[in-house]
Point group: C2
C-alpha cells in the first residue's frame, strides 16, 4: 500500500476516533490487491486464520461506515466490498451472469462525460439528487465464453 493511501485512510478513520489497526490494514491490502470486490468469505480465504471471520465482518462494517469501503451487491445473499472511489478512482462493473464474478472497469473521459450528462438529465427530472452513479453491465466474462 502506498504511504499516501495509508495516511489518507488513517486520517479518515481518525475523524471518527477510529484506528487503522493490523486487521483493518490486512483487509484493505487484500482488497487493493484484488481486481474486483470481495466478500467476507473470499477475504477470509486470502487472509487465513490470522484474521478471524468475525473480525473481518466487523472491519468491513466499520470501514464502510467510514466511507473507506463501498459495498457492492451483485450476487444474491452476498455482499462484496471494495475501496471507495475517492481512494481509487471512479469505475464501473462488468458482472458475469455465469460465474458471478465482478470486474472493475474504467471508461475514457469522453465516455464518462456522456454518462454524467445522462445521469444529470435523468436525475433532475425525478427531483433526485445524485451522489454517485455506476454503469453495471451484465453478460459473460472472458473466462465463461
Amino acid at each position: 500500500m502506498t504511504p499516501n493511501l495509508d495516511s489518507q485512510i488513517t486520517e479518515r478513520l481518525a475523524l471518527d476516533g477510529l484506528r487503522f489497526t493490523r486487521g483493518r490494514r490486512e483487509v484493505v491490502e487484500a482488497l487493493l490487491a484484488s481486481d474486483g470486490p470481495m466478500s467476507a468469505n473470499e477475504l477470509s480465504d486470502v487472509l487465513g486464520d490470522g484474521v478471524p471471520l468475525s473480525s473481518i465482518y466487523r472491519s468491513l462494517a466499520i470501514l464502510t461506515d467510514a466511507h473507506i469501503l463501498t459495498v457492492h451487491l451483485a450476487t444474491k445473499g452476498l455482499a462484496r466490498y471494495e475501496l471507495s472511489e475517492w481512494l481509487v478512482g471512479h469505475h464501473h462493473h462488468l458482472v458475469c451472469t455465469e460465474c458471478g464474478s465482478v470486474e472493475d472497469i474504467h471508461v475514457s473521459a469522453s465516455h464518462e462525460e456522456r454518462l454524467r450528462e445522462v445521469v444529470d438529465a435523468v436525475a433532475s427530472v425525478a427531483s433526485f439528487i445524485p451522489s454517485s452513479h455506476a454503469l453495471e453491465i451484465d453478460g459473460r466474462c472472458a473466462q465463461c465464453q
Copy 2:
C-alpha cells in the same frame, strides 16, 4: 393486467410446463402496479394473508427462472423483483441511499444510444459479451431531501 401481457407470460411459462396460477398472477399484478422493484416482504404486505410468504418466495424463484421477473439487489440482504425488460421495456434505477427505495426511470432514445455506445466500447476491451446493462444512480430521492 393487459390481455396481451397475460398471454405473453402464460405462453412463456408453458414453455417450461408451468402454469400461470392465481398466486403467481397476484405477484405479477402487484409488481405491475408498483413503480419499482419489490421484496418478498413488501409483496406480502400488499397481498395480505391470501398469499402465504412461502408461496411468494417460490413464485418469485419460478418466475425469475422463467425470465419473467428480474432480481434487483440494491439493498443489503434484500432481494427485490420486477417484471423483466422484454415485458415492460428497458429502464434504469434511482437508488435512495437514505431510505433504500428504488425507482424505475426511463431515458430518452438519444441518451440510451449514448449509453449503448459506452457499454459496447467498454465491453469489447474486456472481451466481455454484454447481455444487458443498467445505469444505477445513487443519491437522495425527492422524499428524503
